[in-house]
């Protein structure tokens, strides 16, 4: 007769077994999340639980903010109002002129047969908070899947490009700032028309990589989006060159830039609508179509093969 411990002593699996199970599970999650990005559904499901708690946590700060603006003095409001009125009048001339120029530009483009520049539109969103992680340059905005925000949409403020929506949740979305280490924006130098890609450095600055030492760049050069990626609309300010290090030991110059937009500040931003995909020229479109049919034919063949094997 074998000796069984009484059920009184049963405490589930041994701690070390549990530990190795949970550690293996976390490591698997880490690897899958870092390499394949296939856990978005799990993330969204969990966010249904964390989102209310987060809102609760941000309530005191919001109340304090609102109370502050409620008790703002009338004198300050009047001064601000006058300032805004003056600013509006100052800008009216430029605005009228730009409308005129835009109309003229459209006409000229039509004459030249160039494709029309698309209008940009979007929705205003508020930055709720930045991620607690000290390593990530990401912020959370208050628009999500409910407002039809999708991953990939560009985000701007009144001074330039802020970043790009990288993850969406039901009520909020995560925006990766252009200063994040993993974010790259295709840009063009306004003065010379030179095209390049600007990378985030992770410390609030940006860097233009792979530019030859003799490239025509100066401190103060403005970089705007080139629009070649099909994501960011062309012509939005991105950064300004602040420091150029040209060391002859390296074949590339190190060019540091600072973002023009208030990237690291909390403010309101605008989420631009995604750009419609540009249609391919006919000969290329045909090629892609034939490839697609071939691919689908292959799939059909594979499906047909399978029952034979069985």
């Amino acid at each position: 007769m074998d000796q069984q411990p009484p059920p009184f002593f049963k405490r589930g699996p041994a701690p070390v077994a549990l530990l190795s199970f949970y550690v293996a599970l976390s490591l698997a999650l880490l690897v899958v999340d870092a390499r394949f990005q296939t856990l978005e559904v799990l993330r969204q499901a969990l966010s249904m639980f964390t989102h209310p708690v987060q809102q609760l946590a941000h309530l005191p700060a919001q109340l304090l903010d609102n109370a502050g603006s409620y008790f703002a003095s009338a004198a300050r409001l009047q001064a601000e109002n006058a300032e805004l009125q003056r600013g509006r009048l100052e800008h009216v001339a430029a605005l009228l002129r730009s409308q005129h120029v835009e109309a003229e530009n459209e006409r000229l483009r039509k004459l030249l047969g160039v494709k029309e520049r698309q209008q940009v539109s979007g929705q205003v969103a508020q930055i709720l908070y930045s991620a607690r992680d000290p390593y990530a340059r990401r912020v959370i905005i208050d628009k999500g899947q409910q407002d039809k925000v999708i991953a990939g949409q560009p985000v701007i403020d009144d001074l330039g490009i802020v970043g790009q929506v990288t993850r969406t949740f039901p009520f909020v979305a995560e925006v990766t700032l252009i200063t994040d280490k993993e974010q790259a924006v295709p840009v063009q130098v306004v003065r010379t028309g030179l095209r390049s890609v600007v990378f985030g450095l992770g410390d609030g600055q940006l860097e233009l990589r792979f530019m030859p030492v003799n490239a025509d760049l100066q401190n103060g050069d403005l970089l705007v989006t080139s629009g070649l990626d099909g994501i960011f609309p062309a012509g939005f300010p991105v950064a300004k060159v602040v420091h150029i290090e040209s060391d002859t030991a390296y074949s590339f110059a190190r060019i540091f830039c600072v973002p023009t937009a208030a990237v690291e500040h909390f403010s309101e931003v605008m989420v631009l609508d995604p750009r419609p995909p540009v249609a391919l020229p006919e000969e290329l479109a045909d090629e892609v179509a034939t490839k697609d049919t071939k691919a689908s034919a292959r799939v059909v063949r594979a499906k047909k093969k399978r029952p034979k094997k069985d």
Binding site: P15, L18, Y22, L29, H58, A61, Y135
Partner: protein
């Protein structure tokens, strides 16, 4: 139910809803917009370590894993990064629980400090593997504050378990 060195009082059994409430409160504290301040202690890690030391049979690695996932989602970090750190801390807490409770509160804090440091180090390691740099030594101040808060936290979280003191000469206990 353990009695600690410093207190000879016999504590009431812990109520499960109070454990849940304290964990949720710690989650709330972690979600406060304090991201600019790197040295903020990780409240959730502190409370998880506390309960896994005090009640290793009620709060274990499973709860630590779930709360870690919640932190990962809220932080927009890699999924599993907090979960791994909290699971290790909970394991450390529950396996050292008998030893830690033997000491007075001040020395308990000294023994809890490495566990809190482990939470921070695991996350740092995950980020290093993913290709990030150390945000500065301030990052490791959080566990120090956490360890300082240990005696205070113990008093606070054990408060509902103290029985009212009524002296009765006929009753020995």
């Amino acid at each position: 139910m353990h009695t600690s060195y410093s207190s000879s009082r016999i504590l009431l059994p812990v109520r499960p809803w109070f454990i849940a409430l304290s964990l949720l409160a710690a989650l709330l504290l972690n979600f406060l917009p304090t991201s600019a301040w790197l040295a903020a202690p990780d409240w959730l890690a502190l409370v998880i370590v506390f309960w896994s030391v005090r009640e290793p049979r009620r709060v274990g690695m499973g709860l630590a894993f779930l709360f870690g996932l919640a932190m990962d989602v809220a932080d927009a970090g890699l999924l599993g990064q907090h979960a791994l750190a909290y699971v290790l801390a909970a394991y450390g807490g529950s396996s050292l629980s008998r030893r830690i409770l033997w000491f007075p509160l001040g020395q308990q804090a000294l023994q809890v400090f490495p566990l809190l440091l482990l939470v921070q180090l695991v996350q740092f390691a995950v980020w290093t593997v993913a290709g990030a740099e150390l945000p500065g030594m301030v990052y490791f101040l959080g566990p120090c504050f956490g360890a300082f808060l240990w005696p205070l936290l113990t008093l606070l979280l054990l408060l509902p378990q103290h029985q009212p003191v009524d002296h009765d000469d006929n009753r020995p206990l």
